[in-house]
Symmetry: C2
Subunit: 209 residues, 2 copies
């Protein structure tokens, strides 16, 4: 990190780190101020309140993440995102984690982010279906949501699940381990026959009325 940043920017970055790590509630201004190397009062002096600070962080992370997502829009929803994640600039992990927290708490920026991601995913899926590289789906929208959801879940895998994989905590290692099984699932599926799908369709037809 270059240290020749605006004080505002230093505070914002410190806040992003703390919010991402501890959550908005648990993070406290004095700690944020400390890692930014300033006093608690200054944080408020620049941002007005903890909530406004959060908004600033939201907007910043949103813009960075959306820009990145647009840059490497790849097949399969967030595959591009995953690749960049594998390369693993620590900063990127932070921002994804931050956004995941924002999504949980249903922040406006998070809504924008999700909308963007789902739209982009859907476009990619439609393109893939059109050119024959992907199977058609009965509900492309829902499939797009599913893609984003699983990508996000994977990228923010909680520690207990990472440990189930033999990793101390989530990181590139865990992601590498998941990559092949995931893609196997995406190319062959899991079931050898259509029985489960048919059964589900029937079940839904009954309940669906």
């Amino acid at each position: 990190m270059c240290s020749d940043l605006t004080t505002q920017a230093k505070i914002r970055n410190a806040a992003i780190a703390h919010f991402a790590r501890d959550g908005f509630q648990k993070a406290n201004l004095r700690a944020v101020a400390a890692t930014a190397g300033v006093s608690a009062g200054l944080v408020i002096h620049h941002f007005g309140s903890k909530d406004k600070l959060r908004s600033a962080c939201d907007d910043h992370v949103l813009s960075v993440l959306v820009r990145r997502a647009r840059e490497d829009a790849d097949p399969a929803g967030m595959r591009g995102v995953m690749e960049e994640y594998l390369a693993d600039p620590e900063e990127y992990r932070l921002q994804v984690r931050y956004m995941a927290r924002a999504i949980e708490e249903d922040t406006p920026a998070a809504a924008t982010f999700v909308t963007t991601m789902v739209a982009e995913s859907e476009a990619i899926l439609r393109a893939g279906i059109a050119d024959g590289s992907m199977h058609p789906s009965s509900d492309v929208r829902a499939l797009a949501v599913l893609t984003v959801l699983t990508s996000l879940a994977t990228l923010t895998m909680p520690p207990p699940l990472a440990r189930a994989l033999g990793c101390e905590s989530f990181g590139p290692e865990a992601l590498r381990r998941l990559a092949v099984p995931t893609l196997e699932l995406y190319t062959r599926g899991l079931y050898t026959g259509g029985a489960v799908l048919d059964a589900a369709k029937d079940a839904l037809k009954e309940t669906g009325s």
Copy 2:
């Protein structure tokens, strides 16, 4: 809810509801006490501290959830869980949400829960592969983790993603919408060819050393 419960049980249930809805931090004892119809002091009188209360809730939810999971162990990891979720006793939604929060915060009970679920998933997958109803996988363990992860993510889908699906918030409606695309993915896969999988394998071989 039957109101002929021990006061302790009433408090515990109220706490589970609040922890699930607001998270452990944000939930406060006075509110919990209020919905339990008692005073704040009594909560501490019975449980000793907020942390101990959390432990009690953890253990309770864990036991209920594990019991349920064992009862309807079905193919595909948590498909049984999903079915029960579709039937939608409000209480069940609560407990799943509670456990998701516990997993995020890496509680001991959550670790046990995850371990159990992954083990069960893995067993189911191995059985399915053995009897030919599922495709073999290069890493069954990782596949099991993936299954649990996506199931959990689906069941605790955050509001923004639910809205992308046209639902106001997550519920049986959203789950029904996702069911068919999910199972389509699980039976046909997404890609029509193996190009992406092969590319990923190559990429990992390079980075993997």
